[in-house]
């Protein structure tokens, strides 16, 4: 197990190196005149040149990349060119906000998908048809449109939630709930549609297995068969989809945070990428890369815990 974890971590480091190199290259290819973008339309050319010099943008790209790498491995991700804030501070102050959205969405997806998927697979009938309909609707409605609709109905018309912004949990638990509920629902819709289908399919497959027939013939109640045996076998594929969704949710947060004006990683990612704030984008690449690597590792370990057949040694 330890060898497996070590190997996965090493792969993760190589992956991070590849991602950052690729990211840096892309950013430089499409970066344009960064100093001009920082200073805007009023600055004269001499000031723009001075700014470029101040940021070290007049150096060869390889030198700049080497400089970034040498600082990054020591934990120094630099300073945002567009706000002057240290990149580590920018990420750490926003990471928890995005994680609270993504974690909330993952929990919502897991709970609703498992309940609905199992019910659809075991009861069939109208529950199954509802699950199928949800899958179509969930995939058909674009995430941002759903988010805007939620704001319109539940925040602006009914006034139950705040339409924009974010209140930390420690500042006000109710304020926090009022600001994260709609974004979490908006983030979760697509995931619920997909994972419900995955759980439903896996449970139907598992129910057709011989061991289920054997368990039933022994007189074990159907509920126990499903909850203790079938679900455990069906959980593997669902977990794999959930892992993929976690990565997808980080991307989805970009749009949702923009619509709800939430100060998370997604919002800053949009701004930094549009502006060409290379230190901040690179820091975000590192942070999200690490998150994805750790989450995938945890999912692999959970798969082994749930199903000994895929346990890794």
């Amino acid at each position: 197990m330890l060898t497996f974890i070590g190997r996965r971590l090493l792969t993760g480091v190589a992956l991070l190196a590849a991602i950052t190199t690729f990211g840096f290259t892309l950013l430089y290819l499409g970066g344009g005149d960064i100093a001009r973008k920082i200073l805007g339309e009023n600055a004269d050319q001499q000031t723009v040149a001075l700014k470029a010099q101040e940021l070290g943008l007049d150096r060869p790209v390889l030198v700049q990349y080497g400089d970034w790498i040498s600082h990054a491995v020591r934990g120094d991700l630099g300073t945002s060119w567009f706000s002057g804030q240290p990149v580590l501070d920018a990420i750490s102050s926003r990471l928890s906000v995005t994680l609270s959205l993504v974690t909330g969405a993952i929990i919502l997806i897991a709970v609703i998908s498992v309940v609905l998927g199992v019910l659809a697979a075991t009861k069939r009938g109208w529950v199954d048809r509802f699950a199928q309909l949800l899958a179509i609707v969930g995939h058909a409605i674009p995430g941002f449109l759903f988010a805007v609709g939620l704001v319109l109905v539940f925040a602006l018309t009914l006034g139950w939630f705040d339409p924009t912004g974010y209140v930390p949990f420690l500042t006000s638990p109710t304020g926090w709930a009022k600001t994260v509920t709609l974004p979490v629902i908006a983030l979760a819709l697509g995931g619920i549609a997909s994972v419900t289908q995955q759980v439903r399919g896996s449970v139907i497959d598992a129910l057709r297995n011989d061991y289920v027939r054997t368990l039933r013939s022994r007189g074990i109640p159907a509920r126990r068969v499903v909850l203790k045996h079938v679900l455990r076998n069906a959980a593997g594929p669902a977990l794999a989809v959930l892992a993929v969704y976690f990565v997808g949710l980080l991307g989805g947060a970009v749009i949702v945070e923009q619509v709800f004006a939430i100060p998370g990683l997604g919002q800053v990612a949009v701004q930094a990428t549009t502006q060409g704030d290379i230190p901040l984008v690179m820091g975000l690449l590192v942070a999200t890369g690490i998150l994805v690597i750790i989450f995938n590792l945890l999912v692999d370990l959970a798969q082994g815990w749930l199903n000994p057949k895929v346990r890794l040694s």
Binding site: A43, A90, G276
Partner: protein, 508 residues
Amino acid sequence: MRFTKAGLAVTLTAGLALTGCASGSGSSTSQTSKTITLGNILAPTTFEARNMNWGNQSVYAQAVYDGLLKPAPNGKDVQPSLATKWEYNTDKTVLTMTLRDGVVFSDGTPFTAEVAAQNLLRFRDGTSPQKSKVADLAEAKAKDKTTLEITLKRANPAFLINLAQAAGLQESPAAFGKADAQTNPVGSGPYTLNTSQTVVGTSYKFEKNPKYWDANSVKYDTLTVNVYTDATSELNALRGKQLDAAAVADNSILPQVEAAGFRSSGQNLNFAGLLLFDRAGKSNPALGNVKVRQAINYAVDAAAMLKVVGLGRGEATGQVFRPESPAYEATLNSTYKFDPDKARKLLADAGYASGLELTLPTSPGFPKALWPLLQQQLGDVGIKVKYVDTGTNTIADLQAQKYGLSYFTLQRDVNDWQLISTMIAPNATWNTFKYQDPNVDALLATIRTGNDADSAAALKKLNEYIVDQAWFAPWYSPTNYFVTNAGTSVELNQGNVWPNLWNIAPKA
């Protein structure tokens, strides 16, 4: 096993809650007279006084810093601030200012003439986008604790108003060069930035400065400025009553904002139209021919542009100067009244009877409705328009002289010399091809050094000349809106998109 899974659920729930414990944007606002939440479309690129910008970022600067002078709401005159008196010598190259005594920065450091001199020179040598406005500053020296002497390389009619904007901001010398100077400002202004409750780039929270020398001018105990880069989220925040006042990001949301009970105050701040940079015909010989430039002016229906591109919010104009300027002449607005036949004739007279091709940059930041309309109208008179998508690099490409003309909106400063320095003078940032004309140079010399009457006459001649020579093809002046709720009053600052902070107040 059951315990383990239950524990997992508890852990996940607690984790979710804990991940929500970070500092946030504090979206909800308390509608008391002591708290105000403002919406802005830009975050400050820095809080370091020497590098600060103005315009949309002026609200942040005015919260934490004092200027040597204050801009009057008419955008032209200046009022006392840290400088209480000032006077020029006869040739207007030496400015002597008497500074307020007893002012301290929020870190306790006293404000003196020596500090003011250091701040001015740091601004001149910094990288603020406004830096060119103090290009004429030769020296700043403290004569004594409260007397500052500023020497200019040559007279500059905009120097005082510049000192009331970014160039005059005063930062504590103890903060000079500090590692956190860009995000933790130390000024003597009416507020201090609460860094622990600020989310850089998204939400800025300011607390009243208890040491402020002009406590009566501070209207609120706390001030929050939220940043909305997306018009929809700004609209939602306004409709959800999360903001008390805001600079409107996009005029298309205005009807809904007004329907939500907000009062809008507007000013025609900019002008929109074509900037015909290449008046010498370096990139395209056709543009060097005044008849071609005039034909471009005649070919475009400015009223249609205002209606379609400007959503009807603004006023048609044919000149770059503002109506309150001595340069302004109402009759000039009809110089190039829409006349495609005249445009065709001018093109034929210029030797382009069979037409010509012009290349214009497009940008995601420009209004989309513009492109087909412009292409069609210029095409009607025989000018084939080729568009090149410059992405987010438009300004850099324009400054690099890659395009001889472009659509753009430029700010029309109230101070005529500021406007001239931005778009007309040979070294002006928006005279991208650095075009120089002896007639214009002579008029600029008079405007720079002449008395009020001579200067006003020269301004009028200058405006007539550049309209006749078709340096620009202005179409309309779009209205910029600032909206306030029922409990907030505002007096706009002419020439700036944001009102002066002290002119936003609880309604009596």
